[in-house]
């Protein structure tokens, strides 16, 4: 595994919805070596508060020298990122962690909830490069957060279904509810989003004997496997470190009930 410490430059800032932003960053080393599901650690602030870097999935690799991050503003780090302007510098470390496994499954399903959609666009791009049939299920609070992303998944040739908490687009309810009917014929499933959504996805896939990978989150100090801070409960009564053993894990490695 080789990672880079790179001084990226902001190329573009888009506001996709109320709290959803997308940054395009020029970062040639990271761009040329990222795999779907991997992440970067971004130094958001100018000085020592916020102190730690924040982890963000690689949302898309635009070309060999630039990547995109998609994020929701939830606190100080993401507030500072949303205030970036073209030309600003953003220090990154990446690509980090273990990404999604792409095997020869010809029909796959991607399930994304909220900001968990971020890594799935990159994954879909890779899958579509080799012509896999992709069904993409997207869930979010409200229609606005999904509009642009739906367009982009569609443009890749994915079949997209949508669920919203407020019923403003697609199915009025949880995205995981859409999964059952879609699983027929699916050879592999990928999920990223709130834990209950991933747990539900894992459960349905287990029942249908469909290999399923999930992308988890944990508080991270280093992203490098050094601090041992990013633990989640694994099955077999052991702790998993998300930044090195994940963030993408096979659903059966995770102790969902803890």
């Amino acid at each position: 595994m080789s990672e880079f410490q790179e001084k990226s430059r902001v190329v573009a800032v888009e506001q996709l919805a109320d709290t959803f932003y997308r940054l395009t960053l020029s970062a040639p080393q990271i761009a040329s070596s990222s795999q779907p599901g991997q992440f970067v650690m971004a130094a958001c602030g100018p000085y020592l508060d916020p102190l730690l870097r924040r982890p963000f999935s690689v949302h898309r690799r635009c070309d060999t020298h630039s990547i995109q991050l998609l994020f929701r503003v939830v606190g100080r780090g993401t507030e500072l990122l949303a205030a970036k302007r073209p030309g600003d510098v953003l220090h990154l470390i990446g690509p980090l962690g273990r990404g999604f496994d792409i095997d020869d499954a010809d029909r796959v399903c991607l399930v994304g909830g909220g900001i968990g959609i971020a890594p799935l666009l990159f994954l879909a791009e890779e899958l579509r490069l080799s012509q896999r049939t992709c069904t993409v299920l997207l869930g979010s609070r409200t229609a606005g957060e999904l509009h642009q992303l739906t367009v982009e998944f569609n443009a890749l040739g994915c079949e997209v279904e949508v669920a919203t908490d407020d019923g403003s687009a697609g199915y009025h309810g949880l995205v995981a509810d859409l999964l059952g009917p879609c699983l027929t014929g699916v050879k592999r499933c990928y999920a990223c989003g709130p834990t209950p959504m991933m747990a539900r996805t894992a459960q349905l896939c287990l029942a249908g004997r469909i290999p399923c990978q999930v992308s988890l989150e944990a508080h991270m100090a280093c992203g490098l496997g050094a601090c041992l801070g990013c633990t989640v409960h694994g099955t077999a009564d052991r702790y998993l470190h998300i930044c090195r053993q994940g963030p993408v894990l096979n659903a059966e490695e995770v102790a969902w009930n803890r």
Binding site: L48, A226, C227, L228
Partner: protein, 311 residues
């Protein structure tokens, strides 16, 4: 003028242990060094202090284990480590290739465990020294940390010294009324050097859930926030003992490191900064050299303890 353009002498001695330069990485913040191989030129480091090792492997505390605080972080890793056997077989091979000093941080629940670790590590090629983490709870004494009771700190230090011919550094806990007494006691019991500070004990609460933000409720505070406390303690200790002192606590820039050297530290360890800026160690190294040139000093030794208090 000619002299001033030659690179200053950066070497320092921690008792029997000679370092090519005074910049080390702090235990628990640099893994087993391999985690940083693609980001840091490891051979440039004065030394690496590895994650604390115990006799048996430890799983550590339940999550969440880290949380950010203003200019700092709390950790409650719970001393997760692979245990001394796997450390020797799995981690030492890489560490031997690093071309820098390797100090093994050791910890235990009983004095006997510290002694056993010291003995086990003594003849392992590539191990250059031991650092005793006395911030751990002494199970026999009802969980009171070794590092808060002078007699217990003395006993651990003595036991380790008697079990090894390796250089022994004792790492002090800052959670005490009188750091100087602790330092003198470990000096008197054979410590070759003293490192300080370990983390301050702290806490954070999630007001939404009304739960502690750490799985372990309390944790260790580190990072720039604690630097003033660390610097004060290093100055007090360095003024009171004869053995070399290693300054630790919130060091992230060359200026920070120089503050500790001026206060009397012979070397420094960089901790939390490795997380938010993996280049910190290299920047600090270059920055100290630049400072020495600017100040017209030929060696790092010549600035140690030169804080000016008069007038």
């Amino acid at each position: 003028m000619e002299q001033m353009n030659t690179a200053p002498d950066m070497s320092v001695s921690l008792g029997p242990l000679v370092l090519t330069n005074p910049v080390m990485t702090a235990s628990g913040t640099f893994g087993y060094a391999e985690e940083f191989v693609s980001l840091v030129p490891l051979h440039e480091l004065g030394g690496v202090v590895v994650k604390g090792i115990s006799v048996a492997p430890r799983a550590g505390n339940p999550p969440p284990r880290v949380v950010e605080t203003p200019c700092g972080m709390l950790n409650a890793i719970g001393l997760e480590n692979v245990g001394v056997d796997r450390f020797i077989s799995e981690k030492m091979p890489f560490l031997r290739t690093c071309e820098c000093r390797v100090i093994v941080n050791i910890l235990g629940d009983f004095i006997e465990e510290y002694a056993e670790l010291a003995a086990r590590l003594t003849d392992i090629p590539g191990v250059d020294g031991l650092e005793i983490n006395i911030s751990c709870p002494n199970v026999k004494k009802g969980g009171v940390a070794f590092g808060t009771v002078p007699e217990m700190a003395a006993a651990v230090t003595r036991a380790v010294r008697e079990s090894t011919h390796l250089p022994v550094i004792v790492k002090l806990s800052p959670n005490v009324t009188d750091i100087v007494t602790m330092a003198k006691v470990v000096e008197d019991n054979g410590a070759h050097a003293i490192s300080l500070i370990n983390t301050l004990i702290g806490m954070a609460i999630d007001v939404r859930t009304r739960r502690p933000k750490l799985g372990n409720i309390i944790g260790g505070l580190s990072g720039p926030a604690i630097k003033p406390v660390a610097l004060r303690m290093v100055w007090q200790v360095a003024s009171a003992v004869r053995v070399p002192v290693i300054g630790i606590g919130g060091i992230g820039t060359a200026e920070d490191a120089v503050e500790f050297l001026l206060a009397g530290a012979t070397a420094v360890q960089v901790g939390t900064a490795n997380f938010y800026n993996p280049s910190a160690v290299c920047e600090i190294l270059t920055g100290i050299q630049k400072y020495l040139l600017e100040q017209g000093e030929q060696s790092v030794q010549s600035i140690i303890g030169t804080l000016r208090l008069e007038g």
